[in-house]
Amino acid sequence: MAGRALAFSDRAIIETIRERFVPAAGDDWYRRRQQDPVGRFYRKVALQRGGWDGDSTRQGLYCLTASGKLLAYRNTSSPEHVKRLLDDALERWRALDESERRPRELDPGEAAATDSEDRRYARPVPDGALVIRVHARELDRKPDGTFCKAPPRDRFQNLGSLDHLWIRDEEWRRLAPPAGAEVGTTYALDPEIAHRIARFHLVDNTRGEPPFWARHEVRRLELALEVVSLEHDVVRLTLGGDAHLGTRRGDRGYTPRLAGTLEYDRSSKRFTRFDVVAVGDHWGRGRYTPHERPGKAPLGIAFVLADGSTAADRVPPQAARDIDLYFAAR
């Protein structure tokens, strides 16, 4: 997240990467494990850094040729360090033969890469799934009871996070209002979806990879939908409710209320709006989310339908590393 806010928000870096490089991004957790051409290629590049136990993370910024020759590497979010990395890589690039800069063929087996994909680690967006962007942010409570962005802190700029909620085709159809629904019709949110939202998306990921909630840590979860208007083919629904999520020891918890608006188009049979917020006090830390604010402090989480316009919209939910658990959260 710091990289998104620091290095990759720097105008000069954005322009250099756009014009001089082919930009790619990936999750080291999958790629260092997957036994297929993409995983092997990545490990071949990462090994050129030297000293790897074959298991631990190899995260960072790599500049490489299409054939896999490492030009430069650094793990940093500092704009100055990234600029130097790009300069170093381009200098080495210019020293290469034309055959290395523009290879006619990639390595053997590349052509069959898609067919031989390691499906244990493949996470394509399920056909017909709703993809919902999920953003979390530290908030402050103002004297009048409203909320504002929390001010920047020393190591953390109060950055909004980004994850994705997947609701499969057969699942979001259960979100749609029942036949014969009228204004005022109220129904509970499908418990499978409700638990997926609670366990994997009502989390504090503003400072790093968050711990997700175990089943027994869902102390209370009540979410319901109400039909509030029927205009032509558009059904407008409100989603509301609350949750209490917390560890047995009480050292980490979150008590949000949720509210928002969904719109369902009965002619196209699609959800066209999913604007939902959760807000409440959060406390505690996870292994990778230290430096929490003291005591209980407000955390806001916003959900909005992805339009598929960016590569990021195809990134799987962080919790989808265990894909079976993700889809069976209840």
Binding site: G26, D27, V38, T238
Partner: protein
């Protein structure tokens, strides 16, 4: 007798839920705008990232460019 009572209970719970949602301390739409990243915060999306490393290799070979690979433990385009 148990089924109607149970149904009545569910209706009471659901009615209570919608009421509790309405008691959010601020309008949901206003809070949504506070939390959603601003255009400055999504400048990184001006870079035409691909999440397909094989596609990146093919493009790099065709266009004669090096690859810039942002690889994190937790996808850098969505995770935190």
């Amino acid at each position: 007798m148990r089924t109607p009572l149970r149904l009545a209970g569910i209706l009471v719970v659901i009615t209570g839920l919608v009421a509790s949602a309405e008691s959010l301390p601020v309008p949901a739409e206003a809070l949504h705008r506070v939390i959603i990243p601003s255009s400055d915060e999504v400048a990184w999306q001006e870079i035409p990232w691909t999440i397909d490393l094989l596609e990146a290799r093919r493009t790099a070979a065709r266009e004669g460019k090096p690859i810039f690979l942002w690889q994190m433990d937790g996808h850098p385009l969505g995770c935190t």
